[in-house]
């Protein structure tokens, strides 16, 4: 079946003329049409655009001018601008917004001959860990449709897990790629901050946001990472570094030094998560990986630091949504009244809550106690991580303290939802690359994710190690019970 092939396999078969790009696009579009009602992964499917892109891709293949992902379909999280295709951030305040330009990542995917299938669901403005905060629809976990796929990139994760796309893009501000990847049993990778352009990504927390791939294998994730990474003059925080290009020919785990921070392997994790991660550690130890338990004490302040810095930046970034230049405009009294009504009616509750926290943390009298202090704690955390990476090749932990939870189960408990990011937040604070891989299943058959963190800029090394870990742990036969 075309739709369960990996991107690398699709690419090989496209080049060998066993498949045509149009056949591939149609297979995914048809599967989306008949089965996505079970998952709600896509907010928008661009059938016409996808078929036109597939025709262009086939011409490149026919002319022997194709690259590694030419003709391979992709789904894009709906917070990345797509020229001529509605982009909503799953918010009513952007309903009907049609960007007049492509985000750099989208432009690079197109230039590589990739075929965009559509836009995927997310928590409104990427604020959430369950995709339940979308203003438009719920997304369901392909392993159990009564459960959440995680978030905020839940649609992109579910699309890949449900074989509704071989690859997708998500964004990760505090774990929004890695956590849903863990809950959906796939690979999710957040590159080093600055290695992938944020131009055209609708900003949430600018000092933390990073775009990255979802895939079913590390090899596929690396192919997409190479396509979208590299310096971009349109993003002033883009690093002058070459594209991410790991070498997978001679992956060897023997002698690798991996740190186990006790703060992330705590009793707070669900017993099945601890059990599966410990089994994985044992399996890797047998391959010659050297583990050592360490302490990174500032990690315990990660959630607080994140929930000050990210909302503070969001409150500023989201000031642009005023109903004047884009999005629907509400009636109101005078200029300010129009803006206040537009924002009150356009934003959902969680977004308002975060704007309020951020505005409060930045307001006179509280700035030093909250925002400034959070930035200092972040710096302290960065120093602790830098020291750890002097000695270790990677840091290993669970990705999420729990497996997929029931839809609605945590919605009444905002703090419980926020704590789901406990293991993933440190990578955003330190700017370092992080990847989540499946390492096993709980007693109910739900996937457990394992997270590897690397030193900033050492994305290649991290991906090479992740590939080695995947070879030890991955059970490719285990697939979700798909419709």
């Amino acid at each position: 079946m075309i739709t369960n092939l990996t991107a690398a396999e699709l690419s090989r078969q496209l080049k060998d003329r066993q498949l045509s790009a149009i056949e591939v696009a149609e297979a995914f579009l048809d599967r989306i049409e008949t089965t996505d009602s079970n998952y709600g992964a896509y907010l928008l499917v661009d059938r016409k655009g996808a078929l036109a892109a597939a025709e262009r891709a086939q011409k490149l293949i026919d002319a022997d001018a194709s690259g590694p992902l030419t003709g391979v379909p992709i789904a894009i999280k709906d917070n990345m601008s797509t020229e001529g295709v509605e982009t909503t951030c799953a918010s009513k305040i952007l309903k009907g917004y049609v960007p007049p330009f492509d985000a750099t990542v989208v432009e690079r995917c197109k230039a590589a001959g990739m075929v965009m299938l559509g836009k995927t669901n997310l928590d409104e403005f990427a604020m959430g860990t369950s995709t339940e905060n979308s203003a438009f629809q719920l997304t369901r976990n392909p392993w159990d449709t009564t459960r959440s796929p995680g978030g905020s990139s839940g649609g992109s994760a579910a699309a890949v897990a449900a074989e509704l796309a071989p690859l997708s893009l998500g964004s990760d501000t505090g774990g929004s790629i890695r956590q849903p990847a863990a809950l959906c049993g796939i690979v999710g990778y957040k590159p080093t901050y600055g290695r992938v352009s944020r131009y055209g990504l609708i900003a949430f927390g600018s000092s933390l946001d990073q775009i990255g791939p979802f895939a079913r294998t590390v090899e596929d994730a690396a192919l997409l990472a190479e396509t979208i990474s590299g310096h971009d003059p349109l993003d002033s925080t883009s690093l002058a570094a070459p594209p991410i290009r790991p070498k997978f020919d001679n992956v060897n785990l023997k002698g690798k030094r991996v740190a186990l921070p006790k703060e992330l392997l705590a009793d707070a994790n669900a017993p099945a998560v601890t059990r599966e991660v410990e089994k994985a550690i044992e399996a890797l130890r047998r391959e010659g990986v050297i583990f050592e338990e360490i302490s990174l004490p500032s990690i315990q302040y990660g959630v607080t630091t994140y929930y000050i810095i990210a909302p503070a930046e969001a409150s500023s970034n989201l000031a642009r949504f005023d109903g004047i230049r884009f999005g629907p405009r509400s009636e109101g009294e005078g200029h300010i009244g129009v803006v206040e009504r537009t924002r009150a009616e356009g934003f959902g509750h969680e977004v308002k809550s975060r704007i309020m926290i951020g505005t409060y943390a930045l307001s006179a009298g509280y700035y030093d106690a909250y925002y400034l202090r959070a930035q200092q704690v972040r710096a302290k955390m960065q120093m602790e991580f830098a020291e750890a990476f002097h000695k270790f090749d990677a840091i290993l932990s669970p990705t999420s303290p729990v497996t997929a939870f029931k839809i609605g189960e945590l919605s009444g408990d905002p703090m419980a939802l926020k704590l789901l990011d406990y293991c993933t937040i440190p990578a955003n604070m330190g700017g370092m690359p992080g990847i989540s891989l499946n390492c096993g299943f709980d007693d109910g058959g739900l996937p457990v994710g394992l997270q590897l963190l690397g030193a900033p800029m050492e994305d290649e090394k991290l991906l090479e190690m992740a590939r080695g870990v995947e070879q030890v742990l991955r059970d490719a036969r285990r697939r979700p019970p798909l419709a």
Binding site: Y193, Y307, T359, A369, R373
Partner: protein, 96 residues
């Protein structure tokens, strides 16, 4: 620290959010619960630590001042709720 309803009202004004009484009360509850959790960082020893504005260190980035291709006026206006004569239309901000 805890936040009063009056402060919630003030912050909502700063954030340009026209919230009704029910939303104000619910946000007051949520903010207070979060601020309770935030107290943990007040005890961290941060003396002598420079605040980090970013995850990776980047110095000022300079670019040559060369005009490039930018959006046409029509395209820039294409998403506006109201526009007229090539301009965004906003409610009057200056009285006659």
């Amino acid at each position: 620290m805890s936040i009063t309803l009056e402060e919630v009202r003030h912050v909502a004004k700063l954030a340009r959010l026209d919230l009704d009484e029910t939303e104000m009360l619910s946000l007051q509850g949520e903010l207070n619960s979060l601020l309770g959790h935030f107290d943990d960082i007040q005890s961290v020893d941060v003396s002598g630590i420079e605040p980090s504005s970013h995850a990776v260190s980047l110095q000022n980035v300079w670019a040559e001042d060369i005009p490039g291709i930018s959006l046409s006026r029509d395209r820039a206006l294409s998403n506006a709720a109201l526009s007229k004569a090539g301009l965004f239309l906003v409610p009057a901000i200056i009285e006659d």
